[in-house]
C-alpha cells in the first residue's frame, strides 16, 4: 500500500526489463513545463513544527528551543502555550492559502518536519491535518510522515498519531553511542534510542519508518560507525537516511570545529564512512536511491521524491520553503516576522510574485535535484525542455567522468553503457536520444563528489 508510485528503483541488474510503470500516470515532469505549460498543482505539503527541547550543536534550522522542563520527559512540553500559539498561527496560514487548482487535486503526501514534531501534542497535529484535509483534500492513501526524536514520545502517543493517519515515522536516532549523542548536544541518550526503536517497531499499523543517522560526527570512529549501521540493520527499518554532518556557520559546531580537522574525521575518513554505509546497507537489502537515502524496495519517501522530481509543493510554518507555480518561496525564519507575514497573507497583502525563474534556473534545479538520485537525469525530457545543444554540452562535460567511473550513462532500459558507446554517440548529435537516455552519478564515488559534478553542470548551463 505504500509502494512507491515512481520509477525510482535503480538497482536493476543490467539485463532486467524496465521497471513496471506505475498504474497511475506518472506526474507530468515539471521542467517540461517551462514557459508555455503551467506546472501541475502541488500534491504535497510540508509542515514545519519548529519546537525542540534544546538546539543541537550542529543545527542551523529555524527552530524554537523550549528549554528542558517539567514532569514527564515524554509529554512535559506538550502543554507549553508556545506550541498551541504557533499551531494557531499555522492554521491561519493554511486557511489564508489559496489552493493552486480549483478542481481539487488532493494531497498525496504530508510531511511534518522540524524541529521535533513529536513534541507537539497529537491533538494539535490532528488540527493541522484536519485543516489540510479541509482545504486541499487528502488522497485515498496519502503518505503522512512525521519526524520523531527518541525520548519525546511513548507508545500511546505514537498510537494516537497513527490513529490520526500518520503512516510514516522518521526517527532521529543519529548515533548509537552515548558519547556521540552527548557530544552533538542531542536531548536523548542511548536508552531512549532503544526504547524509541522498540516503540516504533511494535506499533501496530506502522509499517514504514526511517532510521535517521549522522556520519562524520566529532570523535566518531570507523568502529562506531559500523556499530551504528549494524544496530540500524538489526532494527529493520524500511528506510534509512544517512546525513553527513555539515559544519554550518553560526552553530556551536561552527565555532568549535573545522571540517577535516580533528576531532572531526579527515576528508578521507569521512568519505570512507559514506562508502561503508553504502556497502553495509546495500548488503542488507537497501537501495541507495538518493545521496543520503536508502530504502527497501518500494519504500522511497514519496514526499522527498516530490522535491527531487522538481514538482511543486505547499509549505506551511516558520522558515519553510514552498514551490508553487514555479516560484520558490522561503517564509521568514523568525517567529515575529513569520507572524507578520501570515497577517499580510490573510489580508491579501502578500502573494507569490510570479517571479520569472528563467530557463537557466529551471535547468539548474532539474540537474541539481535529479543527479542526487539513483534514477538520474532523464536526458530525453531534459533535451525536450532545454534544448539539444545544452544536453550535448552537458554530456561533453561529463564525458571524462564517465570514463573515470564517477558518472554512469544508461540506455532506455537503464542498462549501463560503455564509456566508448557514449563517445560514439556524441559524435552524432542526433543520436544521443536514441541510445543514451539517462545520466546518473555512480554510487558511492560519484555521489561523494556530487557537489563538484553538479557545479560543473551549472557551469555549462549558466556559464
Amino acid at each position: 500500500m505504500l509502494r512507491s508510485a515512481f520509477p525510482l528503483v535503480s538497482h536493476l541488474p543490467p539485463r532486467k526489463p524496465p521497471p513496471v510503470r506505475p498504474a497511475r500516470p506518472p506526474p507530468v515532469r515539471p521542467y517540461a513545463s517551462s514557459a508555455a505549460r503551467p506546472s501541475p498543482p502541488p500534491a504535497s505539503a510540508y509542515v514545519h513544527l519548529p519546537f525542540c527541547r534544546k538546539r543541537c550543536l550542529y543545527c542551523d534550522f529555524p527552530i524554537v528551543a523550549l528549554g528542558s522542563s517539567s514532569s514527564s520527559p515524554v509529554n512535559g512540553e506538550g502543554n507549553d502555550p508556545r506550541i498551541a500559539d504557533y499551531v494557531r498561527l499555522l492554521l491561519r496560514e493554511v486557511a489564508a492559502t489559496r489552493p493552486v487548482s480549483n478542481d481539487g487535486v488532493p494531497l498525496e503526501t504530508v510531511f511534518f518536519g522540524g524541529g521535533t514534531p513529536s513534541l507537539v501534542p497529537p491533538r494539535l497535529v490532528a488540527a493541522v491535518l484536519d485543516a489540510l484535509r479541509g482545504k486541499f483534500g487528502l488522497s485515498a492513501s496519502p503518505e503522512v510522515s512525521i519526524e520523531m526524536d527518541p525520548g519525546t514520545f511513548d507508545a500511546a502517543k505514537l498510537r494516537e498519531l497513527v490513529g490520526l493517519g500518520v503512516n510514516r515515522v522518521s526517527l532521529g536516532v543519529q548515533a548509537f553511542q552515548e558519547d556521540l549523542l552527548r557530544a552533538c548536544g542531542r536531548a536523548h541518550g542511548l536508552r531512549e534510542v532503544h526504547e524509541a526503536v522498540g516503540i516504533v517497531t511494535a506499533c501496530e499499523g506502522l509499517q514504514n519508518w526511517s532510521m535517521d543517522l549522522i556520519s562524520s560526527l566529532p570523535h566518531q570512529t570507523e568502529e562506531m560507525w559500523e556499530e551504528s549501521l549494524r544496530c540500524t540493520v538489526d532494527a529493520r527499518p524500511t528506510h534509512v537516511s544517512v546525513y553527513d554532518l555539515q559544519i554550518e556557520q553560526g552553530t556551536k559546531f561552527g565555532q568549535l570545529y573545522t571540517p577535516g580537522v580533528h576531532p572531526l574525521p579527515s576528508e578521507t575518513d569521512s568519505a570512507n564512512f559514506y562508502k561503508i554505509a553504502s556497502k553495509r546497507l546495500s548488503e542488507a537489502g537497501y537501495n541507495h536511491y538518493e545521496i543520503s537515502s536508502y530504502c527497501k524496495t518500494g519504500y522511497e519517501c514519496k514526499h522527498n521524491v516530490t522535491y527531487w522530481q522538481n514538482r511543486s509543493f505547499y509549505a506551511f510554518g516558520l522558515g519553510s520553503a514552498s514551490y508553487i507555480n514555479g516560484v520558490r518561496f522561503s517564509r521568514p525564519r523568525r517567529m515575529k516576522e513569520y507572524a507578520d507575514w501570515v497577517q499580510k497573507l490573510e489580508i491579501g497583502a502578500w502573494s507569490h510574485e510570479p517571479d520569472s525563474a528563467g530557463m537557466k534556473d529551471m535547468a539548474m534545479d532539474v540537474v541539481m535535484l535529479s543527479l542526487r538520485t539513483a534514477w538520474g537525469l532523464d536526458l530525453r525530457s531534459f533535451s525536450k525542455s532545454f534544448g539539444k545543444s545544452l544536453t550535448v554540452s552537458l554530456c561533453n562535460t561529463f564525458r571524462p567522468f564517465v570514463e573515470s567511473g564517477l558518472v554512469i550513462v544508461m540506455d532506455m532500459e537503464r542498462r549501463a553503457l560503455q564509456p566508448s558507446d557514449f563517445k560514439l554517440d556524441l559524435q552524432y548529435e542526433g543520436e544521443i536520444e536514441s541510445k543514451v537516455a539517462f545520466i546518473r552519478l555512480s554510487d558511492p564515488d560519484g555521489f561523494l563528489l556530487s557537489n563538484e559534478l553538479i557545479s560543473l553542470a551549472f557551469g555549462v548551463i549558466a556559464p
Binding site: Y46, E267, A271, S320, A321, Y323, D365, F458, G459
Partner: protein, 657 residues
Amino acid sequence: MAGAAALRRSARRAIRPDEYTFSRTLQHAERLLSSQASPDRGGVLGSELGLYPPERIRNFSIIAHVDHGKSTLADRLLELTGTIKKGHGQPQYLDKLQVERERGITVKAQTATMFYRHAHDESDAPNYLINLIDTPGHVDFSYEVSRSLAACQGALLVVDAAQGVQAQTIANFYLAFESNLSIIPVINKIDQPTADPDNVKVQLKRLFDIDPSEALLTSAKTGQGLSQVLPAVIERIPSPPGKCDSPVRMLLLDSYYDEYKGVICHVAIVDGALHKGDKIASAATGRTYEVLDVGIMHPELTPTGVLYTGQVGYVISGMRSTKEARIGDTLHQAKSTVEPLPGFKPARHMVFSGLYPADGSDFDTLSHAIEKLTCNDASVSVTKETSTALGMGFRCGFLGLLHMDVFHQRLEQEHGAQVISTIPTVPYIFEYGDGSKVQVENPATLASNPGQRIAACWEPTVIATIIIPSEYVGPVIMLCSERRGEQREYTFIDAQRALLKYQLPLREIIVDFYNELKSITSGYATFDYEDSEYQQSDLVKMDILLNGQPVDAMATIVHNQKAQRVGRELVEKLKKFIERQMFEITIQAAIGSKVIARETLSAMRKNVLAKCYGGDITRKKKLLEKQKEGKKRMKRVGSVDIPQEAFHEILKVSNSK
C-alpha cells in the same frame, strides 16, 4: 651643449642669503593663478612672460636617492615662491599619482614654473622665471630622468645628511654629469640628530670630486638653509642657450592624455617663441598642428598664449593620441626646415611579462586600461599574445622591476583592471646551429624540443651598485655570488660604508633580489643597477606540466645549474596552490623531455551535501553556484583547474635561494 660648460662655471659665485625677498613674488603668483579663470588674460600673462629673456630663466631638476627629501624640497621651493600656498594641499605636490603617494616614490617627472625675485637689481618685481622639474629617483625610470635632464642646465643633488650617498645618488649623479649639467650638492635633513654633513661632504669629494665648500646645508623640514637654494640656482646654473630671433624650435619632453583637453605636451622652447595660433610641425612624423593652447605649469596648467626662448611649458595642439607625441621629438615652425634637436636615449625594455585578465571575461577592460595607461607611459612596450592557459593577453616590456610593479598597480588602481602576470623574464638571445638567432621575450615561444641544436645563448647583465655598512659585506658578497655575480669594484666610501659593484645577470635580480638584499642587511643596503652587455650563458627552457600538459604561461628560462632547484620549488609551490580535483594531478617540471621534479596531488575524496534540507533547495543551490563561480575564476589547462593565486605565487619563487 658643450659650449655651455664654460658659461656655467662663470655663473657660479657666492651670494648672501638675505639678498632677496619673495613677498612681491606671492602677489605676482596670485595674479597668475586668478588669470586661470579667464582665458582672455593669456595675452596679459604672455606679455609678462616676455619680461623673462633666457638670461632671466633657469631650468633645473632635483635628483636624489629615494627618500632623501627631493619631493619635500620641491614643495618648499614652490611654497617659497608662492606657487603653491603654504600648508595647503597634500605634501609632495608634484607626486600626483596615487601609486607615488602610496609608495613615496616619483614615477612621472612633473614640472612647475616659479617666479622669483633675486635681489641684484633695484626693482622689487620678480625677475627670474625658474622651472623645476621633479624626477623619479629609481633607476627604472632613468628614462624619465634623462628626459627631464634634457630640458635642464643644472641639478640639485640632494643627499640625506644622515644616510649619506646611496646607490641611486650615484646613478643619478652620473646621469646628470653625463648631460653636462651644473650640479649643486644639497645636504638635506640636517635637523636630524644623526645628521653628519661633514661626512657627507667627504663622500661627495671622494666619489664625485665635489668641492666641500659648494654644498648647501638644508632642512626641508625646518626650513633651515632653504633661502640659499634658489639664489644658488640663479648664480650657479647657466641660463638656457637658444636663439630668440630664430623660428621656433622645441623639445618634446613628455606628453599625456587628458580626457577633456586631449593630448598635452610638455615642451622646452629651445629657439624662438611659440604663440597660440601658430602652426607647428613634428620633425619625426612631419605632421602639422595648430597651437590651440599654450602656457605654463604654475603648477596647474595656466594659459599664457605664448612661450619664449628657454621657457618650459605645455602645448595643446589637437593631437589625437600620445603616439603622435613622441618623447624627444623636435617640434618646430611649420613650413620651415630645421635641424632636429638631439633626442633622448630611447627606453630599453629589459623585463617582460605577460599580462592577462584575471577574470577571463574582461579582456576588453584590460585592453582598454592598458591602452589608456600607455597613452601616458610611452616607456612600456605592448604586444598582443595568447596563452592556452590564460587566453588572450599582452606581452609587456618594462624598463625594470619597479616599473613593472608600478604599471600593475596603476592598472588596478587607476583603471580597475584585475591582472594575472606571468613570471617576469628578460630578453634572452638564442643562437641555433645554423647561425640564426632569436630574441626570446616569452619563454613559451621557445621550442621545448627544438629541431635544431642550440649553439649558444646570451643573457643581459647589469652593473649593480650596492652600498652597505661594512659589517654586511660578507653576506652581500655571498648573495651576489649565489646569483652568479662577478665583482667589479669594492671600495669604502667612508669609515663605515662600503660600495660594491657587481656584474650580475639581469635574470638573477628581477625576482626577489632586492628583498633578499634588504633582509640580509637589516634594511641598510641600497641598490641600483644599470644595463650592461649580454653575456654567454648555459640556459635551458623549463616547462611546467600538469597531467602531462605544458602550462605555457609557466614556462621559464633558467640557468642549467639552477634548473633542478627552481623546478623543485615551482612544483612544490604549485602543489600547495592547486586544489584537489576529481582526479589525481601530476605536477612536473621538465627540460625538454626530461622530468626534473615531480609531485602528485591525490584526487579529492568527497564533496557532497548530504543533509536533510526539507524542500529548501535555494541555499543548497547558492552553494553550488558559488562553487561554479569559483571554478569559473580558475584557469584551465587540459582538464586541470588552476587557481589564479597559483600564477601569483609562482612569481615569488626565487631563482637562487
